[in-house]
Amino acid sequence: MTSTKSRVLPLNKRGLNFEMLMWLFTRLSALAIYGLILVAVIGALIMGARNQMSFADILRWGFMPNSSHVQSIPLENADAWATPFWKVTASLLLLVAVAHGVHGLVVIVDDYITSARGRNIVRIFSIIMMISMMLMGLYILWTM
């Protein structure tokens, strides 16, 4: 394999537009998702999940740390998860992950739908999907 030297453009030669900002958002939201999952798993371990949790339970907890999601898990203190802190953490994970995911789907669909009109329809549909997923998720997190 021939190695190619990487090319780094200076800032003033790079374009700054919506697509570029979403490219950056995809990377930064990925880092945020890793951080939020790590916080949730550490929180589970601090709150007495060290002995009772299986691998599947840790995954369920890491991906959505709210009390209704983990009520099937035997816990020393399940009420500790119903605090506003964990509801806010779960809400942040939901909002960041849905935005990251819906944008990812738009990127994939753009490779197959290339007409201007088709892409506009895809964008309108994706915004509707993103908002409805966020509202349904928030409703579940704050009322159940």
């Binding site: 780094v8 691998f55 995911g101 819906v102 994939i108 290339t114």
Partner: protein, 124 residues
């Protein structure tokens, strides 16, 4: 806009993109897989009842669980590689090594999880 790519599927499949192309394809499959799972899960939790039970049966199937775990783990590890290399673009020269490292992390974690899921599904 109006981009035209007259590349037939066969030519596309014969494209020799090596490890990077395989990661690209699996990253997309994983992203779509997680989007399907999360959408089903939110809809099932929101509506409950018959719709919820119907969707629950699908994603509690062990075959679907292995697919979702593959999606999440591969997307997470490959995404971490892309993020780190993109934030420090000079590291792209070591892309091939990064892909080997990524598989070295992925295979043992996925293997253990798949073994656990299958053995509990078969009643072991």
């Amino acid at each position: 806009m109006g981009l035209k790519r007259n590349v037939p599927l066969g030519t596309g499949l014969r494209y020799q993109g090596r490890g990077g192309q395989l990661s690209f394809v699996l990253h997309r499959i994983g992203g779509i897989g997680m989007a399907i799972f999360v959408t089903m899960h939110i809809v099932a939790s929101f509506f409950g009842g018959d719709i919820g039970a119907f969707l629950n049966n699908i994603y509690e199937n062990w075959f679907f669980q292995i697919f979702v775990f593959f999606s999440a783990l591969f997307h997470a590890i490959n995404g971490l590689r892309i993020t780190l290399l993109d934030l420090w673009p000079k590291l792209w020269e070591h892309q091939q090594e990064a892909i080997w490292l990524q598989w070295a992390v992925f295979i043992p974690i996925f293997g253990i999880a798949a073994y656990a899921i299958i053995s509990s599904a078969l009643g072991g």
